[in-house]
């Protein structure tokens, strides 16, 4: 079936293809209508109740931050789905791919637009799950499956922490609505639970956005098809964590803990990732590590938290999405048309693939931060914000300087080398890709150029409204420009270019040297991950073998031990035995019959426990049963006593009949464990006695009994109250009881009549 489908030539992936392009395009156009209100500084808030009993609303908050994200998601989504119609359109599983991609898009849009934190979490998990499905799209490859599971476990664990954080935050702020929570920053930051909330939220954000030390899953996630890498693991999903931090900035930000956590983790990720990017030979991996670098930088500047830093963050967010998506799409075309992504193999593709080269080149120039592209603006404003910091100035500026210089090198590696020079031999003869593929990089490249030349548009549409939302101050005046004067930031840019150019010139020996350095480094995260998983499995195996030994005796021992510890601990913790017991009063007025029956039952029980003879045991059980019936008679329960007697006779008869076919009791092999068993049994006996003494010493609630006594005759016309309860007031219970007995009888009948098996569990042929 799948094969014949694959043979059908599909135009742009068939209906699945063009529908998948139309949906994000329609959403993009739809979202544009909110631009006016948002750019004017008026967030839109609409919603309906979803689960009102739990204070969960399906509400939408459209402000500068969420609209920027929504437009990036739907806009890049349109280009990526269009691209996929050609990249994967003939893949037999293409419709499945489209389904996952659409699922992701819904999740991502919901994540950035939700005003309710619980709803946000649900969408957050949808992106995690769809990311898992998309990374593992080539499910027949072990590497894909491993990468997918790794991403799922890392981000899923972070997601659980995030959920716990949401619940704490909801309790502290008294609402799950972001629009209300964000206004209570002072209350939240002063609350004793603030550190816990912060840690839990950051655990979610850092795993999602692959911040050090959770960075290792993202490069592995590049096992996904390239459109997925471009979309999820560069432009949108991995920015979910960044979105969360930016979104929560008014509520959680501004403290020292927030500042240092984000600045240190973000800064370290930035430098670490950009160094690793230079080390790669697979261009897609180069881009993966530069994405990590960008995520680190965004985290760093959210942490820095000044208005200038937030402005730089918002500008860089848009800038990065534009050029990185374009570069991913570009390398996808190269891979598709030449069959390789190896930086040492690819040379001189420019003449064969001019339009791809054009789109990629503009994006690369933007990544290198060269004017007049928008990447220059992004870098300038990061420098400016870094230099304006009143603390950690050197760390932040230095981090960005190192990262920008290395970005310059990475841009050269991913575009300059493959497209220029003399054409080299590749697995497939290179030629230009179809328009549906090169339109993406070209359009995104044009936007990089357009926003660079017209920074006011970028400012008015995205950066200013976004900054207001993240910084929480709608009065702050954002001012983006390409070039105004020669200042420190501009000089830093020039130094960046010079450093970058030098590094690019020596990048091949540098790569070899870095390779040796990282080889020698004993701390490796990816193999470490495997060891963590192995350890987890070993732990699970160990505790399963411990608890699930397969030996009935041990199970029962565990159950009773748990019971003993549970009751004992409760009595101890609640100090429940804190009363005087009136021993003398309780035995006063007791007659011979009382003592006799108690002695009978006790002796019968002990005898049953210690005897090795079956007949003695049956007789002793009979004594206990008759003794209990006598207690019922003495204490005014004739109906119960009759039933008890009947049942007791039946039990003894049944056991006696069964004995004819059963062997003697053997005890010899239990001897070693008997003292332990006796100790546990004795403990439970004492505990039950204590609980019961506690019960009879307390007050009794007779309300139900009083009701039955008064209601029996007037309402049910019965003078035997116990009978009336059974057949009238609680008739359904009695019916259930009868059903239990019938089911037991049927099951016993089936057991007695069923097929016989021999000791090995085989069905003997010759028996009937």
């Amino acid at each position: 079936m799948a094969k014949s489908e694959a043979e059908v030539a599909r135009v742009y992936g068939g209906p699945a293809g063009w529908i998948s392009v139309a949906i994000p395009a329609a959403i993009f156009v739809w979202m544009l209508q909110y631009m006016g209100a948002v750019a004017a500084g008026q967030p839109v808030l609409v919603g309906i109740d979803w689960v009102p009993s739990m204070d969960i609303r399906l509400s939408v908050l459209i402000d500068g931050l969420s609209l920027t994200f929504a437009l990036l998601i739907s806009g890049i989504g349109t280009l990526v789905t269009l691209y996929s119609t050609k990249y994967l359109g003939n893949h037999p599983e293409y419709p499945r791919f489209v389904l996952f991609l659409m699922l992701f898009m819904v999740g991502m849009l919901g994540l950035v637009l939700s005003d309710n934190l619980i709803a946000l979490f649900v969408f957050w998990e949808i992106t995690t799950i769809s990311s898992y499905l998309l990374i593992g799209f080539s499910s027949d490859e072990a590497k894909s499956r491993r990468s997918a599971l790794q991403a799922l476990l890392v981000t899923g664990t972070g997601g659980l922490a995030f959920l716990a954080g949401i619940i704490l935050l909801g309790n502290v702020a008294g609402s799950f609505e972001l629009s209300e929570v964000l206004g209570q920053g002072d209350v939240i930051r002063a609350h004793p639970l603030y550190p816990a909330i912060l840690i839990l939220f950051l655990a979610g954000a850092f795993t999602k956005s692959a911040q050090f030390p959770f960075h290792f899953w993202l490069p592995n996630a590049m096992a996904a098809p390239t459109p997925v890498s471009a979309y999820l693991h560069s432009a949108t999903m991995v920015k979910g964590g960044v979105y969360l931090m930016a979104r929560m900035n008014p509520a959680l930000g501004g403290t020292d803990a927030w500042f240092w956590a984000l600045v240190i983790a973000g800064g370290f990720t930035t430098v670490f990732a950009s160094v690793l990017a230079i080390r790669q030979t697979d261009i897609k991996q180069v881009l993966a590590y530069t994405t990590l670098m960008a995520l680190g930088a965004l985290t760093l500047f959210i942490g820095a938290g000044t208005a200038a830093a937030i402005t730089g963050m918002m500008a860089f967010l848009v800038v990065h999405s534009l050029y990185k998506a374009a570069l991913f799409l570009m390398i996808g075309i190269v891979d598709h048309e030449t069959g390789t992504r190896d930086v040492d193999t690819l040379r001189g593709l420019g003449r064969k693939m001019p339009l791809t080269f054009l789109g990629g080149a503009i994006a690369a120039l933007s990544m290198a931060g060269i004017p007049p592209l928008v990447g220059f603006i992004g870098k300038e404003f990061l420098y400016k914000a870094g230099l304006d910091m009143d603390r950690a100035t050197l760390w932040i500026t230095g981090t960005i300087f190192a990262a920008s210089a290395l970005m310059f090198v990475a841009a050269g590696i991913s575009v300059l080398r493959p497209f220029t020079g003399k054409l080299a031999q590749t697995p497939q003869t290179p030629h230009e890709g179809p328009w549906a593929m090169w339109i993406g990089p070209l359009l995104l490249g044009s936007l990089s150029l357009g926003f660079g030349l017209f920074p006011d548009t970028l400012e008015a549409w995205f950066v200013a409204p976004g900054t207001w939302a993240v910084y929480g101050d709608y009065g702050y005046a954002v001012d983006l420009y390409l070039f105004r004067e020669v200042n420190a930031a501009f000089l830093l840019s020039l130094a960046t270019f010079a450093t970058g150019a030098v590094l690019y010139a020596i990048h091949r020996p540098l790569r070899g040297w870095l390779g040796r350095v990282f080889e020698a480094n004993p701390i490796k995260f990816d193999p470490g991950w495997d060891r963590v998983l192995d350890g987890l499995k070993a732990l699970a195996g160990w505790q399963t073998r411990l608890l699930q030994s397969g030996v009935l005796q041990r199970y029962i021992f565990t159950v009773f031990l748990t019971l003993a510890v549970g009751i004992g601990a409760t009595i101890w913790a609640k100090d429940a035995m804190d009363f005087r017991i009136d021993w003398v009063g309780s035995v006063e007025g007791l007659q011979f019959k009382h003592w006799a029956v108690v002695v009978f039952v006790t002796a019968g029980a002990i005898l049953t426990a210690i005897t090795t003879s079956r007949m003695t045991a049956i007789a002793a059980l009979g004594v206990v049963g008759i003794g209990v019936a006598l207690i019922f008679i003495i204490f005014s329960a004739p109906d119960v006593a009759i039933t008890q007697l009947l049942v007791e006779v039946l039990v003894v008869v049944l056991v006696a009949v069964a004995m004819l076919k059963l062997p003697q009791l053997g005890l010899a092999r239990d001897r070693k464990r008997r003292p332990v068993h006796a100790a546990l049994a004795g403990t439970i006996g004492v505990l039950v006695t204590m609980v019961m003494i506690g019960v009879v010493q307390g007050n009794i609630d007779r309300r139900l009994t009083d009701f039955f006594e008064v209601a029996s005759w007037p309402e049910a016309y019965g003078r035997n109250i116990v009978n009336v309860i059974l057949v009238d007031f609680r008739a359904i219970d009695t019916f259930g009881e009868i059903a239990v007995v019938v089911i037991a009888a049927l099951a016993a009948y089936a057991l007695l009549r069923g097929t016989r098996y021999d000791r090995n569990g085989d069905k003997p042929e010759d028996r009937t």
């Binding site: 029980a605 005014s636 009879v696």
Partner: protein, 124 residues
Amino acid sequence: MELLIAIMVGVLVAASVYLMLARNVLRFLFGLILISNAANLVIFASGRLTPQSPPLIPEGADAPVELVANALPQALVLTAIVIGFGLFAFALTLVYRTYQNLGTLNSDEMRLAEPVEAKAEARK
């Protein structure tokens, strides 16, 4: 008397737990009978013990004239006795069939579902 019953129930429970911990499933079964008796006594005695006044309404009266025994635990215990018997009868049949098929009453030797060899292999 309630205190005395409490101590007696303690002995009953101890004896039944001891029996249920045995490897011989017949002894387990004896423990099961004892523990259901013990449970019934706990419920019964928790409703307080009243001698010589069963919960009946005399002719001509709408409700008991003087204090009568607590009817509610009696009704509960009645149900429990019957259900306990159903459980016991089924368990006894199970023991009987197990012995017929496996030839043993030792629970350690009943390893059809979780054979010892398979476990040893899983450990590797």
